[in-house]
Symmetry: C3
Subunit: 332 residues, 3 copies
């Protein structure tokens, strides 16, 4: 199975954009052109300023109802979407979806129809199956927006966007940067979205680093440099994006042992010294400390891991406003 091409149905840009090429759903960063990506990042910038103020709330989505549909548990992602919705003054409903609901079954469609009838305005969807958010977006009423909060190993666009936002905020102009994505690219729904976003924004050079077993076949066709030796791959990069080793997703023997994985691909202070002196270190969290990254690096001066969490709120506020057609300008 090729993790890079599981997309079912029509091209997402026919689905996630309005006729005026505004954001209608956020399903995937693929198909979002450079102007739209930059608009999302700029809008997130204005929310980032807001979040540093005492009153972190704006009335942009007052009277709107956001339904969290998490078919796969994720306290962390659910919490940040919930917080983002509350800071936009929306009402939030969190529904625990039974595992038996499927993307094709009548049950899911029935549930969607009922939530539509309750006049929800937005569905935040997390599902173990690739294409679930696309399926839902294809079937919802015209006034409802869908945001993909992770579908299988397919995509996780808000995480990819917050990563790009972090890079732009801390390192500036992307075209001048060398960026390395390290680790379990095969099972990562973030890495794929990220490579597309970085390509669209014309990042200088994107590298992927990992063992052959954890890199998808044909990954170089996405326009990235492939490294199997970490020391080589890290040399002179400006940004190191570590991926979480998806232990729960691995069936069979992708890696010989966690110990050996750490020996070859764990990010230590010694290895980080091979990158540019002011390189930043990123991780989507939660980190497997001692497996893909040491605590010294994760908590060290070059780490921006916790800033990513903060920026995640800004990106989610930006995207949620935009799919509601609301001008996200906030008071300065």
């Amino acid at each position: 199975m090729n993790a890079l091409n599981p997309r079912p149905g029509p091209l997402p840009n026919t689905l996630q954009l309005t006729d005026e090429r505004q954001l209608r759903h956020l399903l995937d960063v693929e198909g979002l052109g450079r102007p739209l990506l930059e608009q999302i990042l700029d809008n997130a910038e204005s929310f980032a300023g807001l979040n540093d103020q005492g009153v972190k709330k704006v009335p942009l989505l007052r009277g709107k109802t956001v339904a969290n549909l998490f078919f796969e548990p994720s306290t962390r992602t659910r919490t940040t979407f919930e917080l983002a919705a509350k800071r936009l003054s929306a009402d939030v409903m969190s529904l625990t979806m039974s595992a038996s609901s499927t993307t094709k079954g009548e049950t899911l469609l029935d549930t969607l129809r009922n939530l539509e009838a309750m006049q929800c305005d937005m569905f935040i969807v997390r599902h173990a199956e690739a294409g679930a958010a696309h399926f839902i977006a294809r079937h919802v009423a015209p006034n409802i927006a869908v945001i993909n909060a992770g579908d299988g190993r397919h995509a996780h666009p808000t995480q990819a966007l917050l990563d790009v936002f972090t890079i732009r905020r801390h390192k500036g102009e992307l075209s001048r940067l060398r960026i390395a994505i390290v680790g379990d690219v095969l099972h990562s729904r973030v890495a794929r979205s990220e490579i597309h976003a970085l390509n669209t924004l014309a990042a200088g050079e994107v590298r992927v680093i990992g063992p052959r077993t954890l890199l998808p076949a044909g990954v170089e066709r996405l326009g990235v440099q492939v490294y199997h030796d970490m020391d080589e791959g890290l040399r002179d990069v400006d940004v190191v994006i570590m991926l979480r080793l998806q232990r729960e997703r691995m069936q069979g023997a992708f890696i010989p042992s966690e110990h050996e994985y750490f020996q070859r691909y764990g990010l230590t202070e010694a290895r980080l010294a091979l990158a540019a002196p002011d390189a930043i270190v990123m991780h989507p969290g939660p980190a497997n400390r001692g497996v893909e990254i040491t605590s010294e690096v994760a908590d060290g001066p070059q780490s921006v891991i916790l800033r990513q969490v903060t920026y995640g709120l800004s990106i989610r506020m930006a995207v949620m406003s935009m799919v509601m057609g609301v001008n996200p300008k906030v008071p300065a």
Copy 2:
């Protein structure tokens, strides 16, 4: 046991009305006179308009605290009450009540006293035992309102009201209508409330259709026409209200098999053709497709099943405002 007369204690109209004959609690549609029923429907009408607008929120219950006391799980009903409360700007607390609390035990009274002391303003009560909401209404402090969200097989007044609202909205003047209620009347807490509401509002003709085992003894004394043959019963009706086959409530053999039930009482397109050409089809949801109704009919042009969900919010907003003594007039 007779499902039609399980009511313990005093007549509900001495309990659910104020001295000025305004709504104080909503426990049962029995005892609500025609003017009050019509006032509820009219108020719901103004909320229905609101719900079509972009901002679905009014400040009518700002600063009020609504406690959801669900002794019996029901995501769907709980969610609609929660949404209705939020759209009225109330604060909502959802309490999972332990199954061991009983309507008579000290534990329940202790819990009520504590919630009163926390200055809750309204209790939404769902309980497996008939009379639970009445029991609570008899024991709460004078400033607290109780809404029955379903007590055993006894009553479910907001569902009955939203059904009547649906009929009035789609078919107009009730006195000119023939209305059939089909299926498991015996185990339905909705059917009973519904028959009373339709009688009070002087509906033209009310029929119940079902096998002898699923109709309560003496049901004809409620002023309804009884049919055991569905084709006969459906002839020329303007409204078909299908009931959910309460499989989880049936102890013993009320029906030979679901297959045979469908053969005799399932609503198909062929059977629906016996009704008036512009008849509407209703169902409280979730439907057992292929048991009491086919998907063609449930999703077909005559179905108003999803409109019922929407109207349910309007009815709940109307009732919650009224028991708080708040004028539910909303901006046009």
Copy 3:
């Protein structure tokens, strides 16, 4: 083990006060001077007035985010903090914390760092281990306030404060009062906080009553009179504070049997007659009826047990405002 001295680390007053001696965290009533205690009580008084009004909500904490971190389940305490936060217009997140998180482990610190990055403003902490809230307060970012909602058998300051508030409201000037604390002082996190608060506010006389096995060694050094005979201890007191028999906390045989405990220390109407005729009876709830108190007394005319619940909201609103540096004056 001595329950009276489990405090780890520096004195709490260096931790819970700002340089201007304002409340920064609320961890323990120890170390709070008389002016600050009286300020808390006065502020709670203004919220108590608010709570009697129709609109029980003020915008004092609008735009603030409160995170409930309950490592130990407590529906009741969590609910009152949640309600207090909502009535201050804050946004509330309730996080169920896994039992495996420890006060010293990396996991807890990681969680804290992530919640900080989500720009939470306040942590309400309940934990089975003494010192947990202090540990968290020592490690949070400078802009975050911590409120101890109970840590092991160590402290439960908002409960102690609401008890003192209750006494002051119902019996007036503390210096003229005789106050008895009865029962399981050893396992009570409330009793310890309470004795300190009463001493600081110069209460006339504080007595503790209980069997030797349920009183901490050296309790008399806290400035209280010790009684093992309940009839003696209750004589002429103005306030009787009953403690809950912490059956779930007792390992081994602290009492011969519940029956015998009731015989010697249960509060009956006959025993209460030994106190001053207008004495009030308090209990933190939920009461073990028939073990430490009879229903006649708990529900009787001298009981102020349910008033304590109401005052608990006012105290929590006062403390939450103060640690946010917000002037808690509310419109009269």
